[in-house]
Amino acid sequence: MKYAFYPGCVARGACPELYSATLEVCEILGIELDEQALEGAACTGAGVLQEKNLLLADTLNARTFALAEKSGLPLMTICSTCQGVMSQANQRLTEDPEYLAKVNETLADEGLEYKGTIDPKHLLWIIAEDLGIDFLESKIVRKLEGFKFAPFYGCYIVRPSKALKLDENPNRKQALEQVIETVGAEVVEFPGSTLCCGFPILTINPKNSQTMVANHTIDAKDRGADAMVTPCPLCHLNLDGYQPNAAALAKRDIDLPIIHLPQLVGLALGIAPEKMRLNKHLVSTKKLLSELAVAP
């Protein structure tokens, strides 16, 4: 299976480990990634540009979709925020022909046109829907039995449910749990699984942002999680990078590794942790990795 690959800013910036892990995992799963197809595609605006100018943000996303259409490939992302923002933009563009025409007027300057045929998909959905959980299971060489992972979806891959087509694809609400179970680990349920990680208000209201980090990581840790797994690199940045601040705020240790979805899958596919830069996290994964090394 071949996809036009949209890694997003964070995987090329502050989370290079997500990018490395994705390439490793996709190779084993037979997902061919064409990054050239979307060469020069802009940032989605991440919901922030939308605050300033919605039409502008939608035009940039329509441009990305037009490039994907041109390549004839389906579009894959590895960032929940990109997924959510693209799905919302796509909904506005495909539901209103007049709006799409207005956007295409701008794209025409570059010889591009978005016809409305793209359905952007996160790697999580590609694993659960396009490849299938059974296929994933067939590729697993190392069951992560005895380990407990807390699924952290965040917001953009679960809301708004209409733009993300969750009713048509009810499996998307449980895809992360399905992957955790398929790799042989146990799912740790906790209340904040689909709540906000606090990243968007990181600079605006650091105390609220870090309280959110503290609440989620402590809830997961106290329910026995060895690590938290997320399909969103922005959630990762806050939950991992600001966990020491959150621990100071909560006046207790937390020490919960936050791993990216492809890193979890990669461990079960037998990929060496260093190849997925699992040793480059701010909250150390050392304990988790050493336990994995001795676990049967």
Binding site: C9, G13, E51, R63, L107, T203, N208, N215, L282
Partner: protein
């Protein structure tokens, strides 16, 4: 059809100061709503169960509560749509983020105080028109969605910011503030926007979209908050972390096509915000030690020129 409910109970007059869950089993039909079920429990099984309801038609906004953990109106939620597939009971809890008075009844006082704080009424200018105050049809059509708010509190119940901070005005009050701020007959924007720009106002929303998801009337409170942010910035209030973040974000995109994650937080906090700059140092050191940081030199995307042209063209239309 036999239906199992697990209802959160709390009685302020009991010696037990914490809430507990109680299970009920009732016979319902395929077309019954959650409210039908709760009323049946109260009338036939347990007269002590307290809840608010009135119109039973999603108009009065009295029966907002959490159904299986998510806020909604009990009167327009069909039982068959919320029976968990694993056979567990339907969980009913009072609305969140508001103090519980008894069982499913919450105290709306904090809701009303915030609502009142945004002055939810029209404030026309000093010059009175000779006849009526006229409003163009397209403006009122644009506001129709937000006018539909029935003040049920579902958005407040599930707001992820209110969960950690009582000071936030919250989605319902802010959506209402937009309703008046955007009304062509209202001329109080100077004061309104200045107030909404304060801490606890438009910038504290974390864009989690919970309010959009749970609103039973399609008010889309978060989208209104984003439009208020745009209004606040257009009015020249650009000296908040939120506005600096949005402006810096747009500038990076315009000039290079993608984000410069190394410089964005610095510009968002404000370079002269010494306390925040010092606060960033430990994170910088930790990232450096872990070998995890964005590239020091930010390069432009290959299509940076084309992207900049799109910015210029669309911005000129605004």
């Amino acid at each position: 059809m036999e239906v199992n409910f697990k209802v959160q109970r709390f009685d302020p007059e009991s010696t037990d100061l914490v809430s507990h869950y109680q299970n009920y089993q009732v016979e319902m039909t395929e077309s019954s709503t959650v409210l039908d079920g709760l009323i049946k429990i109260r009338e036939e099984d347990d007269g002590t169960l307290s809840l608010r309801c009135s119109c039973r038609a999603a108009i009065c906004g009295s029966c907002a509560m959490r159904i299986n953990g998510e806020a909604g109106l009990a009167c327009n939620t069909k039982i068959v749509d919320v029976i968990p597939s694993d056979g567990s009971p339907i969980t009913i809890e009072p609305a969140g983020n508001l103090p519980v008075i008894k069982d499913l009844i919450v105290d709306f006082q904090p809701f009303w105080s915030k609502f009142k704080a945004v002055e939810p009424w029209l404030q026309p200018g000093e010059i009175e028109p000779e006849g009526e105050y006229l409003a163009p049809e397209e403006d009122m059509i644009h506001l129709a969605g937000v006018v539909s708010c029935i003040l049920c509190g579902a958005c407040v119940s599930d707001c992820t910011v209110l969960e950690v901070d009582d000071n936030f005005l919250g989605p319902a009050a802010l959506a209402k503030a937009y309703r008046f701020s955007r009304d062509p007959r209202d001329e109080s924007d100077d004061q309104r926007l200045a107030q909404l720009n304060q801490p606890g106002g438009v910038w504290d929303c974390t864009r989690c979209m919970k309010c959009v998801e749970v609103c039973p009337k399609g008010v889309d409170p978060m989208d209104r908050i984003m439009l208020l942010r745009e209004k606040v910035m257009d009015a020249g209030y650009n000296n908040t972390s939120g506005a600096r973040h949005a402006n810096a974000f747009a500038k990076f995109l315009k000039n290079s096509g993608w984000l410069d994650e190394l410089r964005l937080p610095v510009l968002s906090f404000g370079i002269f915000n010494i306390k925040a700059m010092i606060g960033l140092i430990p994170l910088g050191i930790r990232s450096q030690l872990a070998g995890k940081r964005p590239p020091i030199f930010h390069h432009k995307l290959s299509s940076a020129k084309e992207i900049k042209k799109i910015f210029e063209k669309v911005e000129s239309k605004k």
